[in-house]
């Protein structure tokens, strides 16, 4: 016989990893010697496992509620563990995935979390255009369309067009340092600017040290060598000087007037329009740049058509007005794989002259059909997200209602999501999923980006890429062949949706100007090259 209390004590110590060598041998002897001892041990193991199961589900629930537990230092391990907590927690599981799929080992993606309202109030201008811009130091290269907050812009070379929210339009030529103070106030420390001020923005002011240059309508130029050292040229209308104006200097300057101020002295000059940026020239140069980009794209696009395994490639170029067919540009794509446009306005793509389709209505979609199945698949699209109003903003959905069905989409918080149906049952656990951290925030709305997702059946991995950079990866737990079938770009088939009541409105809101489906897992290098 054995001492039952002792057995329970040793078993507990074993489960709590507190059992020393000698005591372990004692426990082993008991278990080997008695079927009853093994029964008690297994009973205890049952409760131990049950409690652990409870704990994992509680942790999952808390994560869904956004409550932070102890710091999740072993995120990767957590993420790997998460699937098991799922059985009873189908509802509302998305949040859990969101938290657990985040992999801290990877660099944070392109953009940060959604901005609080305070950040919006900080915005004073939009970057309207950039021409050969080189930014100072490690500053993030801003692109046209970006909202600019209060603060300094340091430009090493090139030209920017700043559209102040007051309506003033400023061309800034590098090297330059300009502080955006408010929507009608900026400080030029060095560099050259041209301000075009419509009547609505009258009073727009540029500072240099303690000199205030106040526009009284239309256009002026300003060139600063440093604090307290600048020239003001009036091209049209009137400018008023305030603050530290040297004695015997006219306070009001009119069209054709110019003044240089240096070391507290002023010199009268004649306004020289030619020494400042010419808006028309800037616009023309930008157009030339766009044409260069377009030519480069044409060449790249031509060679992309021969990509091995390419199933579908839509570039939306040269669509006949009023026609609904979208040719599949894949070299080996059969005529059956042509797309059909339903709805979708024809709009401008990444640059002027590049065609895109606009998605806004619940009906908008491009429909196409493939057949067969594939162990691996790569989806890529150039998209401009204009807003994320829905819980599911579909990029692509294919083969609804079948094992191997895929859903590729963005959620409301800007996470890129992939769902691959591994099991027929209508349940949350039926899907192999991969979710990225938020990659599209409000600041990205209206900007073009390249999204790609790889399902690598051979390696058992799924990966998300944004602008050619990997932002998430995860293992495929249940290897599943991808079903090729009826597909919707920018939408999904609500009528045959297997999603129950949840989110039957899932159309995309924005533009797509390129889409490709490749029947194999592209390498990171191939995706990077496609994203350029």
């Amino acid at each position: 016989m054995f001492d039952e209390a002792r057995l329970q004590q040793l078993t507990a110590a074993y489960f709590d990893r507190q059992l020393s060598g000698e005591n372990k041998r004692e426990l082993e002897a008991m278990l080997l010697g008695s079927a009853r001892a093994r029964e008690i041990f297994q009973e205890q193991a049952g409760w131990h496992g049950l409690t652990r199961e409870w704990a994992l589900r509680e942790n999952a629930r808390d994560l869904m509620d956004g409550i932070s537990l102890a710091p999740l230092t072993r995120m990767t391990s957590w993420r790997r563990r998460m699937w098991w907590t799922g059985a009873g927690l189908a509802a509302g599981f998305a949040m859990l995935w969101a938290v657990l799929q985040f992999n801290p080992d990877q660099p944070h993606p392109v953009t940060a979390e959604a901005r609080p309202a305070a950040a919006l109030r900080e915005e004073v201008a939009m970057l309207g255009q950039t021409l050969n811009a080189v930014w100072e130091n490690d500053a993030v290269a801003l692109t046209a369309g970006t909202a600019l907050r209060r603060g300094w812009l340091h430009l090493r070379a090139g030209t920017l067009r700043l559209d102040f929210y007051s309506g003033a339009r400023v061309y800034l030529e590098g090297p330059a340092s300009l502080e955006l103070v408010s929507q009608d106030l900026a400080r030029l420390e060095r560099g050259r600017l041209t301000a075009n001020v419509p009547p609505a923005a009258e009073g727009f002011t540029v500072l240099n040290a303690n000199l205030r240059v106040v526009d009284r309508g239309t256009e002026f130029g300003m060139n600063a060598g440093g604090p307290g050292e600048c020239e003001v040229h009036v091209f049209q209308g009137e400018v008023e000087l305030q603050g530290d104006v040297p004695a015997a200097t006219a306070r009001a300057l009119f069209e054709g007037d110019a003044v240089a101020i240096r070391e507290g002295q002023s010199t009268i000059l004649t306004a020289n329009r030619a020494s400042f940026a010419d808006p028309a020239a800037v616009t023309q140069a930008a157009a030339r740049e766009a044409e260069t980009l377009r030519q480069a794209w044409r060449t790249a696009s031509e060679s992309f058509r021969a990509t091995p395994g390419l199933l579908v490639y839509f570039d939306f170029e040269d669509l006949e007005p009023g026609a609904s067919l979208v040719p599949n540009r894949a070299r080996d794509g059969g005529p059956d794989s042509m797309g059909t446009v339903i709805g979708c306005d024809r709009l401008t793509g990444r640059w002027a002259e590049k065609a895109a389709l606009g998605f806004a209505r619940t009906s908008d979609r491009v429909r196409f059909r493939l057949s067969g199945s594939q162990p691996s698949l790569t989806m890529m699209a150039w998209v401009r997200v204009d807003s994320l109003p829905l819980d599911h903003n579909a990029l692509l959905s294919m083969a609804p209602g079948q094992v191997g069905e895929i859903h590729w989409k963005l959620d409301r918080s800007g996470k890129l999501l992939l769902g691959l149906r591994a099991v027929d049952a209508l349940a949350f656990e039926s899907w192999e999923r991969l979710e990225s951290p938020p990659v599209v925030t409000e600041q990205d709305f209206g900007h073009w980006m390249h999204l790609a997702t790889v399902i690598d059946g051979g390696a058992g991995m799924m990966r998300h890429f944004v602008n050619g950079r990997e932002v998430a990866s995860g293992a495929i737990i249940r290897p599943t062949a991808i079903r090729l079938g009826p597909a919707n770009l920018g939408n999904f088939d609500a009528a045959i949706a297997s999603s129950g009541e949840m989110g039957v409105v899932r159309h995309f809101n924005g533009r797509i100007d390129g889409f490709a489906l490749v029947g194999r897992a592209l390498t990171a290098a191939e995706i990077q090259s496609a994203a350029q």
Binding site: Q8, F15, G21, L50, N59, S77, R80
Partner: protein, 182 residues
């Protein structure tokens, strides 16, 4: 061509996976009896699932799923003990084999038990509940729990063992009270 129905082998695999989910807590208990390290047991759990999926075709409906999955779990656990060098921590292979041949059925009314367990946890004294949470939810061992709660390791062991005994009795009592006698 119509692809509306999954192939028979896919349906079979799905059914086997469904069984696995149903028995998941029992499989976890069995793994923890061989691998006391929570995170290692979780990893092996995933491996077991992969094998179950891959070998779903070998499982014949009508035969004992618990016995089949137990064989896989034992094999995977022994493999983990060898490759991760956990011999010090785990029971000897001889004992594990002896435990494995006892074909006790897994409990199947797991969801009900989990519900009662949650209710009983709420009845625990705050200190006891905190010990259980630190142990099971935060994966802390008694020395870490003692440090966090400002007490000694033996007193943590006592608290944990009393809490476990209370939980077991409480769940069994609640189950007995709601299960009709027939």
């Amino acid at each position: 061509m119509s692809d509306s129905l999954p192939a028979p082998d896919e349906a079979h695999t799905a059914a086997v996976q469904g069984l696995f989910v149903q028995y998941q807590p029992a499989v976890r208990s069995y793994l923890l009896s061989m691998l006391p390290d929570f995170s290692l047991a979780d990893d092996v759990m995933q491996e077991v699932f992969l094998v179950v999926t891959r070998k779903a075709g070998d499982f014949q409906v009508g035969t004992s799923f618990p016995a089949w999955v137990k064989t896989i779990a034992r094999f995977k656990a022994l493999e983990a003990i060898r490759t991760r060098r956990r011999q010090e921590e785990s029971l000897s292979e001889e004992v594990i084999e002896a435990l494995g041949t006892d074909l006790r059925p897994f409990h199947t009314n797991i969801d009900e038990r989990l519900e009662w367990l949650a209710a009983c946890l709420a009845e625990l004294a705050p200190q006891a509940r905190r010990s259980i949470e630190l142990r099971y939810r935060n994966d802390h061992l008694p020395p870490e729990i003692a440090q966090r709660m400002g007490c000694t390791v033996p007193s943590v062991n006592v608290t944990l063992s009393r809490a476990r005994a209370f939980l077991r009795d409480c769940v069994l009592r609640k189950m007995a009270a709601t299960t009709p006698a027939y």
